[in-house]
């Protein structure tokens, strides 16, 4: 299945960047979590190994095959999510976890991959300049099923990450101005309804504290404030590895997960942040460039949706930890502790590499 020519097309730079970021993550997770029990950095290393294996597994199969199976995969994932709603026990207030042996996984992460594939499959035949209503409605319906189930878990942060996927597909497919306007009105109606009838109080609070972080120093505003203090007090060169008072004395919340970049900001300063941001920019630019190499429409869609998904998670996280976006519970891809997130990111990048490897029509 993988001959020599395909192997020679393997993108070493991208894999190198992904591994480098993951390992930096392990170091920062160590710094953030060594003060508490549970060797999180070791578990993350295990997950990196598992994820890397998954990435190569994805490379083995031509993405055309994956596309042809996408509808079944998507259906299966929705069924699993529904079953989760019915049978899962509450863990940390949500029903988003499925226990596999000693590890726990979040099926919602895999649902993103399924959605990317199914949307690419849907728009592969779409050649017009603008998308028409039937396909638009179908696309939204395909996305709505997993999103609704994830919202109900309730895991607003993860649900939000489905947005760039759908948006990415629609941007490429093309939306007329009136379609956008009608959609916005619909979205506003749904948003208003959601605010009043669906969102829980703590979720509303997260949104309102963004506007007035100082008003609530012990709740969500406390997290943002502590994170800003950590980043700001880092200065140019930082306080040094394992020497950040905010991180080591546990003022910083969710240090090894959502706020892991704040630890970088505190201990390695602006220079550390700049290097990391540079690495991400390099990775994202690389992904966007691959879009231009894809041999077919479905390939472009997949690469673009993956790139936009990662970019979205990246921007939301870096804006969140510095107080420019609400605390949504979206981790920083590759760096934050969390196996499911890591696995889905590796698989998504695997898809991109798969497309790049098989960019020549005559293979």
């Amino acid at each position: 299945m993988l001959d020599k020519r395909l192997l020679s097309e393997l993108d070493g730079l991208t894999i190198g960047l992904v591994l480098l970021l993951s390992l930096i993550g392990v170091v920062m997770i160590f710094s953030a979590a060594h003060v508490q029990s549970g060797a999180y950095y070791l578990r993350q290393l295990t997950w990196i190994a598992v994820s890397l294996a998954a990435l190569f597994l994805v490379l083995l199969v031509d993405y055309k095959v994956l596309l042809s199976l996408s509808f079944y995969a998507h259906f299966l994932v929705v069924v699993v999510l529904a079953a989760l709603m019915a049978f899962a026990r509450l863990v940390a207030g949500t029903k988003s976890w499925i226990a596999v042996g000693g590890f726990r996984a979040q099926p919602s992460e895999i649902a993103k991959i399924a959605l990317i594939l199914v949307l690419a499959r849907l728009f592969a035949e779409h050649r017009g300049a603008f998308v028409r209503w039937p396909r638009l409605v179908l696309a939204v319906a395909l996305a709505a099923a997993p999103v609704m189930l994830v919202v109900l878990q309730p895991d607003l942060g993860t649900a939000l990450t489905f947005l760039p996927i759908v948006l990415g597909a629609l941007i490429l497919a093309g939306l007329r101005r009136r379609t956008v306007i009608v959609s916005l009105i619909l979205a506003a109606t749904v948003a208003a309804g959601g605010w009043n009838f669906v969102l829980k109080d703590y979720q509303k609070k997260r949104l309102t504290t963004l506007m007035h972080p100082a008003a609530d120093t012990r709740g969500a505003g406390y997290q943002i404030l502590q994170s800003k203090i950590a980043i700001g007090s880092g200065g140019l060169a930082g306080k040094g590895f394992l020497r950040g008072s905010q991180s080591q004395l546990r003022f910083l919340p969710a240090r090894h997960t959502d706020f892991v970049l704040s630890v970088v900001g505190e201990e390695f300063g602006f220079l550390g942040i700049a290097v990391l941001l540079g690495l991400y920019v390099l990775l994202l630019a690389r992904l966007f460039l691959v879009a231009g190499m894809a041999r077919d429409r479905a390939g472009v869609y997949i690469v673009f949706m993956v790139a936009l998904l990662l970019a979205f998670q990246f921007f939301v996280n870096v804006f969140m930890i510095i107080g420019l976006f609400p605390v949504t519970g979206i981790p920083l891809p590759l760096l934050s502790y969390g196996g499911s997130s890591l696995l889905s990111t590796y698989v998504a990048i695997g898809l991109v590499l798969n497309i790049k490897m098989r960019r020549f029509a005559n293979v």
Binding site: G234, G235, S245, L249, G265, L284, A294, V300, F304
Partner: protein, 595 residues
Amino acid sequence: MMRERIYEDLTLILRRARVVLYLCAALCVFLFIYYWKVQILDHGKYWKLAEANRTRVRVLTAPRGLIRDRDGGILADNTVGFRVSLDREVTPDLESSVAAMSRLLELDPEVLKERLAKTGDGATLQPVVVKDNLTLEEVSRLESRRLELPEVVVEAEPKRAYPRHRFAAHILGYLQIMAPEDLQSPLGKRHRPNEMAGKTGIERQYDAVLTGTDGTLYEVVDSFGRSRGEISRREPVQGRDLWLALDSELQQKAEELLGDREGAIVVLDTRTGELLTLASFPTFDPNGFISRFTPQEWVDLASNPTFPLENRAIRGLYSPGSIFKMVMALGGLDAGVVGPGTMFSCAGSTIIYGNPFGCWLASGHGPMNLSDAIKNSCNIYFYQVGRRLGIDQIANYARLAGLGRMTGLDLPGEKDGLVPSTEWKLKTANAPWFPGETISVAIGQGPLLVTPLQIACVTAFVARRGVPVTPRLARDEDPPPAPDRVDLPASVFERVVEGMWRSVNDGGTGRAAAVDGFNICGKTGSTQVISRERAAQLARQGREVKTHSWFSGFAPRDEPRIAVTVLVEYGGGGGALAAVLARDLFELYARKYAR
């Protein structure tokens, strides 16, 4: 053309992808700039916030100085007490914290909330002390929940202790948190809110001396408020020790003598004005209520009808009765209304201004001079002296002797008593003075009011032959300037002293006070505390009517060293009780010092 056939035309969607790429690039530029702003431009601000996060300043309460008696014995000491406070800065949910604490401390949640609310809004982030004097059991109960309740802070602090309990309690006073009205005073500026400060007695008077300088401790804490080490530390400096003139042996004896009677005893060193004894009974044990919170024990004492919290020696107002004859004799001699040889005859009663006035001895004393009159405490003689002097001259001599104003003792709350005059009557009652009232005042009754300490000072004034004395408790604190000798001839004092000597040593009313070889001079007093009609009524019912019992004297006659004043409420005749008690004190003093 090959490309056209094999590959799809993707230029449109790639163009759209490129637009998104540019948008992302723009976001990245903004990101760099914003992180630059936070990390480089605003670095100082966040650095300070991080430092404030991780450092905590703790006040190390300085122990108060010790209070010692004249031999160095410790009267007020320090032990360790535990207090628990709530740090509202790290309190996630006040309701649940209050619920947990009220359960662990067995305190009513309402009481707890009230204590939290009382601290005002100025220091909302300061930990609030919610209970002190914890038992060890309470401390361990709280400490075992250290992790669940990081906002609950248990700290050890120096705690005042009075090792001899009720002993000299009125002199020492006790501590309480400051009343709101004290906050603006120098006392309030010296103490932090909710800290214990001197409330009464020596603790209050010398609070500035006894209060030490609190230390500070800067320490690193984590987000749970747990200490992770010290940064710097300034040790607290204990307050200065205070040495009192108090002689514990005499004080102890005086308190024993009073037993369970209500009264006061003052022993004064006539040479220096130092107070060797200042006893008041009933008394109290301040150890039970050294707390920030009004303890039930204190409330009970404050509402007790016998007023155990009152220092009767300096705040009790009594008629001096026959004790006042010392002053009357001085005045009569100085004004020349009587001479040493002036005789009056006592027939047991007399009629003055148309009203009958009796002597305490119904059968009468017969003819007597001034010396005899003092010795026998004859009322008839002093009625005549009073009638001749008139109220305003009496008032002048009373003030000259030190009555009607505070003695200047270094204790707070002293009362100044009352010396009546025509002016006073006009001002307070808007009525003229009736000459008949003068006759009552002449034997120390009527509106005239004195404290036992004032009487001790009058006695010292006579003993010093006209040099007033300012009583002092603290030995080494700067004393006030010694008062000047008053303008009375020495011979006047010798006549009065002679009468007082004969009262004790020549079979007079004070004879029960006599101690062999210790030339005591004294004067007794028995004051009616109820009206004559009421007394007669009670006597008819067969109930015993007792007067307040006074004795005041000094010794030795020449070169006097101490003055002793005894007052026993409802003690009966001065010669029968007060003089007996005084004798024991003179004897103890003579044994300890004079020989």
